[in-house]
Amino acid sequence: MLEVKISRLELSSPIILASGFLGISSSSMKRIINAGAGAVTSKSIGPKPRKGYKNPSIFEILPGTFINSVGLANPGIDEFINELNEMKIHNIPIIVSLFGETIDSYRKVALKAENAGACAVELNISCPHAEVSSIGINPDLTYSLVKKIKKALSIPIFVKLNPNVTSITEIAQAAERGGADAVVAINTLAAMVIDINTKRPILSHGSGGLSGKSIHPIAIKKVYDLYKVLKIPIIGCGGVSSYKDAIEFFLAGATAIQIGTALYQGIELITQINEDLNNYLKRMGYESITELTGVSHNFKLQEVPDF
């Protein structure tokens, strides 16, 4: 019941590990697959090793809501290929999230990932810390980047969208035109926490990205809006911590979902959500989770206020 297809990618479960969570070692990612995920996304990988920002770089603000400024810490693609090779052996469906310093550097990293066995790449054009942070807020740059990568690769290309923009649909449509096979919505929301005793921002970088429960209703709205304008599939991401959150993404228009922050509860959560999704589908009389995609759009809303 839970099988989904995103572009050419066939997954046994619609739950995908989001980028940045446990996605550095093949051993952790194997564990996530064993827990029932349909695929894993790697930590965003760049052209060279990077320590990112000093700690504190991840903490909780409200129950289930975190802020982070990891700053794209990653071992670099050349090192990461060791992990990819290991995963190839175990046949683990891995989407390599990646970024570059220039469009060409994106392309080089993507090619290495494809050659090492990635089943798809996810272009991180939404990292607020990278030099390329301007891409994800600019439709023209997004279009050019996606088009270049599309030409170079034969595996599917996902584009991870930045929610901190006036019009996410404009960026997504540019990605679609450039040849993206799917979009992932959303990355984190720019945020900050200041400690009132020391009077300083807590994150070493000052500001960071909000993830988890708080951003879920924002992500739902973005997916709903994207579904109205896109033809390519949408992968919902942001604040999934139960099957209900996942269903909401499907009803809004998603074809699959990613899960990240909620894994602080333990990776068994993935197993639980799969089970709960199955039960929901049975209770509601569906045969496949794909039937749910976009269903909320069938209902008429009040467009114009009453006077």
Partner: protein
């Protein structure tokens, strides 16, 4: 569920344990956490934020009413700055995290704790709890020399009916000369076969030392609990930096305390860790 927020607290007390090691006390009640602030157990750790510098994991070395203690060795930028702080200065706390040492079912079990360096911190905490619960144990502490011996005052006050303290130094300046692992072997070889069945070893210290403890325990088929260290970013099972191959066990969440079964399954134990980029590097 653990609250992973960062709360700042004032340092209430600072004690110099030896040349390079200080114990900091802070009052956790000031966290003003609404609920789930659990009393930490021996083996658990907290992430300590030194404002403006860094945030690093530290084992809890003692708990007393609402006061928690950490015992910190000055080894680099963050711990150095921490050593410069004074009573009344703020530090941030996240946690407590991780699992903890579990006690044998039987209080008459034979228990040996093998501590090295600041790894003595969680084991002192464990020893205190064991005393409270009427367990008998031997605590072997290894150090480079007399000056590096930790918690001597504290340890001397332990009830000697229940506890035995064994010290050893590399240069023989205090206690036995040589490594703690040599003392461990010595003690184990004296244990009767019957007693061996109810012998338990706990260790925390440099990983190479712990690996040797593991080898010894394996040889004699003694169950071991070892508290490991890895580079930690989040402390709460999200970033994956502390994963140990090939099972992907997380030191911050599945550990830091691992038992013999888990240790046996670790290719990395005693050999590899990850640096802050996530790259695998050898343990020195």
């Amino acid at each position: 569920m653990i609250d992973s927020s960062i709360k700042t607290v004032e340092i209430k007390n600072i004690k110099e344990e030896c040349k390079n090691i200080k114990t900091f006390t802070f009052n956790s009640e000031r966290f003003e956490m609404k609920s789930n602030l659990q009393k930490p157990k021996p083996g658990q750790f907290v992430m300590i934020w030194v404002p403006g510098v860094d945030e690093v994991p530290m084992s809890i070395s003692g708990v007393d009413d609402g006061n928690w203690k950490i015992t910190v060795k000055n080894v680099g930028e963050c711990t150095n700055k921490l050593h410069e702080l004074e009573v009344g200065d703020y530090i941030g706390i996240k946690g407590p995290y991780g699992n903890y040492f579990s006690f044998p079912d039987n209080t008459s079990a034979k228990i040996i704790l093998v501590a090295g360096g600041f790894g003595t911190a969680p084991l002192k905490f464990l020893a205190k709890e064991m005393l409270k619960n009427k367990y008998n144990f031997t605590l072997i502490q290894g150090a480079r020399n007399q000056e590096d011996i930790l918690f001597l005052e504290d340890l001397e006050q332990f009830d000697q009916n229940y506890s035995e303290m064994v010290f050893c130094t590399d240069d023989g300046s205090f206690g036995y000369e040589g490594f703690s692992t040599q003392q461990l072997e010595k003690i184990i070889t004296k244990i009767s076969i019957k007693e061996m069945k109810t012998t338990y070893v706990y260790t925390c210290g440099p990983e190479k030392m712990m690996y040797r403890v593991f080898e010894i325990c394996e040889q004699f088929d003694i169950p071991l609990q070892a508290s490991l260290e890895r580079m930690m970013r989040c402390g709460c099972g999200l970033c994956g930096l502390c994963a140990i191959d090939p099972l992907g066990l997380l030191v911050c969440k599945d550990g830091p305390v691992f038992d013999s079964n888990q240790l046996r399954a670790m290719d990395d134990f005693g050999k590899f860790k990850r640096d802050f980029t996530g790259k695998k590097i050898p343990i020195d």
